[in-house]
C-alpha cells in the first residue's frame, strides 16, 4: 500500500547504492580512519565554511543526541529543550540514561523562543538555592522541528545571544536538516548553522542514507577523546567507511540539499492539493512534513488506501495526522495520494 508515513521507509539514494557496490571489495581500515571518511569530512568542512571543524560520523539520531549531549555536559548539568523536543519525549530516556535531566520549556510551533529561554535562565540564577538544582548546561533545538517548522536566521541568532550571555553552548539536531536547507524561503544556510551553533548534526538516515549522521563541532571544539566516548557508548561502527562513503556522496555536487529540495517540492504539491480540498492544517510547516487535522471517521477511510502517521488527538473526535515526503517520493506517488485525498 502507498505510504507517506515517514522519510525512512526505503533504503538509500541510488547514488549512494552505486558507491557501496563499487567499493564493496576494497580493503579499508576499520573504525572510520579511512580515506572515504577523510574526504567526507573535508567536503563537510568546506560546505560549512569551517576549515577547522571536527566531524564525527554516527549511526543514528538518538545515539547522536545521547553521545553529543552527554559529552558536552558536565555531570551536574542538564540540557534545555522544548517539551516537544525529540530528546524529551521520544528517545526512551536516552539522555537521562546518561545521567542528565532534560529541562523542558514550552514550545511555540515546535520552536524554542529566545525570550522564554532568557526568562528561564535568569530565574534559575536568581533562585537562592540554585546550587541544589540541575544546572542548565546547554540548549538543544531541532531544525526542522518535530512539527516541520523552521527557525529564521534571526531567531537562531537571538537564541545564540542568550546562550552567549549565559555561557552555554547551542546544539542543533539536524535529523532532517537537508529538508530545512532545501525549503524555499528559508534564510538559514548550512554556513549559518555552522557559524551560530557550537555543535550540530547533519542527518543522513532520513535524507537517503542507509543510516548515518554527521556530527560537526564547527570550531574544532569536540569534547576530548570523542572517538573513545563513541566507543564507550556502543556507537562505534566497525566498517566506519560506510558512513564516510555515504556522506562523501551527499556532499558531492550538492546532492544533500538537492534531495531536500526534491522532497519539499513534492510536499508543496500535496499542500496545494490539501488546501484546494479544504483540509485543515494543524500547523503551518513548510518542509517535508505536513500535519493535518482529520475527523476520526475520515481518517479511518483514508487508512484503507494510504499509510499515514497518526500524531496526536486534539479532541475526542479529531486526529492530527502527518504526511511525510522524502528523497524517495516520486511524482507518481504524489499523484496517487492527491487522487485519494
Amino acid at each position: 500500500m502507498l505510504s507517506f508515513e515517514c522519510d525512512y521507509a526505503e533504503g538509500a539514494h541510488e547514488k549512494i547504492m552505486q558507491r557501496l557496490i563499487e567499493t564493496n571489495r576494497e580493503q579499508k581500515p576499520g573504525y572510520g580512519v579511512d580515506g572515504y571518511c577523510d574526504r567526507a569530512k573535508n567536503k563537510i568542512r568546506a560546505a560549512c565554511g569551517c576549515p577547522e571543524a571536527e566531524v564525527h560520523f554516527l549511526v543514528g539520531g538518538t545515539q547522536t543526541n545521547q553521545i553529543v549531549i552527554d559529552s558536552m555536559l558536565q555531570s551536574y548539568e542538564g540540557v534545555v529543550a522544548v517539551r516537544t523536543g525529540h530528546v524529551n519525549g521520544h528517545e526512551a530516556g536516552a539522555i537521562e540514561y546518561t545521567g542528565h535531566k532534560v529541562l523542558a520549556l514550552p514550545h511555540k510551533e515546535g520552536k524554542l523562543e529566545a525570550a522564554l529561554l532568557r526568562t528561564y535562565l535568569k530565574g534559575f540564577y536568581e533562585d537562592s538555592s540554585y546550587d541544589h538544582m540541575v544546572f542548565p548546561g546547554m540548549v538543544y533545538i531541532t531544525h526542522p522541528t518535530e512539527y516541520g517548522t523552521l527557525y529564521t536566521k534571526r531567531e537562531l541568532l537571538e537564541i545564540k545571544a542568550v546562550c552567549t550571555e549565559y555561557q552555554i553552548p547551542l546544539y542543533l539536531d539536524g535529523a532532517r536538516l537537508g529538508y530545512g536547507l532545501g525549503t524555499d524561503g528559508t534564510d538559514v544556510t548550512l554556513k549559518d548553522i555552522a557559524d551560530i551553533c557550537d555543535a550540530f548534526y547533519i542527518g543522513g538516515t532520513k535524507l537517503g542514507a542507509l543510516f548515518g549522521e554527521a556530527v560537526v563541532f564547527p570550531k574544532g571544539n569536540a569534547p576530548k577523546h570523542f572517538f573513545t566516548r563513541i566507543k564507550q557508548h556502543g556507537g562505534l561502527l566497525a566498517k566506519g567507511w560506510l558512513l564516510g562513503l555515504q556522506f562523501d556522496t551527499f556532499f558531492t555536487d550538492d546532492l544533500y540539499v538537492e534531495i531536500g529540495r526534491h522532497a519539499v517540492r513534492m510536499a508543496d504539491r500535496i499542500r496545494a492539493a490539501l488546501r484546494g480540498k479544504g483540509y485543515t492544517f494543524y500547523m503551518d510547516s513548510p518542509t517535508n512534513q505536513i500535519f493535518i487535522v482529520l475527523p476520526n471517521d475520515g481518517l479511518e477511510q483514508l487508512q484503507h488506501k494510504v499509510v499515514l502517521s497518526v500524531w496526536e488527538k486534539p479532541d475526542e473526535d479529531h486526529t492530527v495526522v502527518r504526511i511525510t515526503t522524502s528523497w524517495a517520493t516520486t511524482e507518481e506517488m504524489v499523484r496517487e495520494l492527491t487522487d485519494i485525498l
Copy 2:
C-alpha cells in the same frame, strides 16, 4: 597493499549486496517490525532448534554486549569474564559505563575454565562481607575467543553446570561465531549453543554483513521491554529491515556457516605454509585467526608487503602478530601471502 589485518575490511558478501539492491525501493515499516526481520528471526529460531527463542538485531558488537549485559544484570551485579575478554579490555569501558563491574579472572588460551569459575564463586559467597562487594551476576565467554580458540562442548557444559549451581546466566559473545561453527573438528553446533547458553549473539559484522549482530534469548527469556532498552541505549536502527534482510540471507541455504568454512579453509592453508617454513605459533588456534611470534626485524620487513595486526609484545625482541582470514579472503590472496612469508 595486501591485508590480512582483520575480518571487517571489506563491505558485504555478494548475496547480501544483491538483496540490498533488489529491495532498495520497497517501503517497509521502521525499527525492525518488518517482514524481513520476521523471516530472519524464524530462520534463526529454526537453526537454533528453539521455536520459542526471542531474537533481536543490533548494529555492532560492543553495543550488543553493553545492552545485553546491562539488561540481564541487576544494578548491584557485575559480569564475570576472563581478563582477555573483549568486554574487559577493548570496549572502552562500555560495561562500566552502564554501572557494572567486569569481574576479571585469569584465562587459559583465551578461555574461562569451569574449575576456576567455581573456585571464584565459592570464595565469593564464603567471604563474610560479600554483601559489601559486587555480586557475580552472569558469566561472559567468547566463542571463538579473542585468541581464535574454541571451547569443546564438554567445556561449555562444565561452565554451564557451575552457572546453574550458582543460579547465574551464561552469555556467549559470538562476534566470530560463524568461524567457530565452520571449523573442522569442533563438536559445538549452533543448537548446542542455544541449548547451553541463556543468551548469545550471532555475529554478522565480521562474517560478511555490512553490520549487524543477532541476539538470541533461546528460552524466550529476553529482559522485559528489550526493544525500549535498545532505544534507550541509542542502539535502535531506524531502517531495521537492513538487519533482518542480512540475517535472512545468512540463514538461507546455510550461508552463514558456509562463509565460516571458507575462511577457516583459507586460514588452514596459511597455517600449513607457516608450519612448513618454521614459524612459531603463539597459540594453537584452529579458526580464522592465526597468532605467530616474529622477531621485531622480521616483522618490519613483512610490514612492507602485507598489513597484519600487531597484537602484543611477549619480550623486547619479539612481537605477536595476528593474521586473519575472512569471508572475503580469496585463494589468490592466500597464495600471495604464502609467497611473501
Copy 3:
C-alpha cells in the same frame, strides 16, 4: 537572630541526645546489624501494623529518594511526580543521575490528583509509539507536600487505585511525615500509609534526629539485596547503630508523633496571629510550614528581625515566604515572632 527558616536548624531532640551520650562507649557491630537497629525496626513494624515490613535506615532525604527510586524502577522506567515534587526540582538531578527520568505532572496545592494521573497513564499506553518513550514505573508523592499540605485518606486511596490499575508501585516521601501525622484533622495514620503505599520513608532529620530516614517496605517487598544497593550508592553508614538508636527513641512512647504535634501547635499559633493581622496566605497548609505573600518592602523590614525562607516570586512586587516551626520551636520563640509580625 531568631530563625523560622527551616526545621533542621538545631541538633537533636534531648531524648535522642541522652541516648547517644549513654551508649557512646558501648561496642557495637557496624553497618546496621546491631541490636538498636533491630529494636527500632521492630517498633516501626508495630507502629505500622506490618509485622512483615522490611525497614532500612539511611542518612538523608535525597539519598533515600535516589536509592529507593533507582532500586524499585527497571532501567527503562521513570518516576511520575508533580512538577513541585522534591525529586523533580530540588535534588540536583539525583534521580536522573541514576538513569531515570522524572515524569512531571501539574500539581494542585502541591498534590498529585488521581484523575490527572489516570489520564496521563491512559494516554501513555494509547500512544502507538509508547515503546519509544520512558515507561511510567512508579508514582512518587510527598506527605506533607512541599507546600505543607496533606492528602486525605480518600485521595491516597484514589491514587493507589490508579497505581493498582496500571500495576505500578506508590512511593511516599515522608521527609516531614511526623508533622503530617501530628496535624489535627488529618485522617491519615501511619498504619494507613503502610497499608496504602508500596514503599515510604519516615523522615528523621527534620523531626529532631541529628540525621536519618527510615525506609519501610511494608509488604516485605524491598528490592533484592537492598543493603548492597545502599553501599553501592555510597549511602551505608559505618556506625549504623546511630540510626537505629535515634529511631528506637522516636518510636518509644510515641515521641515521633508527639514532636509533630508540638510543632503544628506552634505553627497554629503563628497562623492565628497572621490571620489576625491580615496577612495573605499563599496556600492553606495545616502542618508546620506556613506560606505567606509579602510585599517586597515588607519582607525586607522583616528580614532585619527574623530569618525566614524566601520561596518564590508570584509577581514583581511580592514574595512568597515560608515560616517553619519544628521540634525545637519554643513558645517563647513563637511569642517573639508574633510580636515582630
Copy 4:
C-alpha cells in the same frame, strides 16, 4: 565481649560529644555554610599548610571515594588502584556505578609501586588501539593501606613523579590517616600529603567522629560546583555543621593526630605481646591494624573470648586475622587482650 574487630565500634571521642551537647540548641544554617564548617576548614588549611585549599565535608568513606573520583575523572577515564584497594573490592561497585572502571594493578604489602605504575602507563600509550580502551585518568592510593602499611615520603614522591609525567592526578584515601600520621617512624606529615597529592581525604569516622570525612583539594582545585555534585550523588548532609563541628574539634590542639598516636601506642603493646608469644605476623604493619596468621583451631578458641576480624585464608588450615585498636581502646582492654593471647 571484648572486641578488637574494628575502629568504628564506638560512638565519638568525648571532646566531640561535648561540643555536640553544647551547641545542640543553637540555630545554624543548613548544608554546611555555617561558622563551624568555616572554622574547621580554616584549621585544616592551616594544618595542611595550604591557605588556598578547598575543603568539603562528607559523611562516609565509600561516598567520598565515589564522589571525588567521579568528579575528577572524565567519563572515558578510569581510576588506577592496586587490587586490594578499597575502591576495587569493598565498595560494592560504587565507582563502576558512576561509570568508571577501576584499573587494578598488583600490590606490594598493600602499596602501589611507582615502577609498576610507570610500566602500566607506558604500555597503555604504546598500545596502538589505546583509544578503544579505558584511559587511566587518576591514581588512587590509601595511606595507611588496607593492610595497615605506610608509604614513605620517597615512595609518595616517586608515584607523584609518574603521575606528573602522565599528567594524571594523585588521590589519597585517608580513611585512617590519623593512625598513619600518629605512627612513630613515619616521615610523612599532613603537609607532605597536601603538597604531594592533588586530592585526599582526612578520615573522621574511624578516628573518633560519629561520622565524617574531610576532602581536601590542596591547590584550590576542586571540580567545579562540587557542592552540587555532592547533592546530586545524595551525599549532602542537611545539618552540615555536624561535620564542621567535629573537624573543628579534631583540629583543635592537635587532637586528630593525638588520637592516632594513642591507638598506635596501644597497638604497639599488642604487637610486642604477640611477638613475645611467638605469633606469626602476616604482614609487618606499624599502624593501628595488626594482621596475624592463626591455625584454624587456635582461632576458634580465641573467638570465644574476643571479637577479631577474619581477613583471608592463605591455606586450608590457617586464617589471617586482624586486630584493630582505635581512639577508644583503653589500656585495660589491651591488658585483657594480652592476657587472653
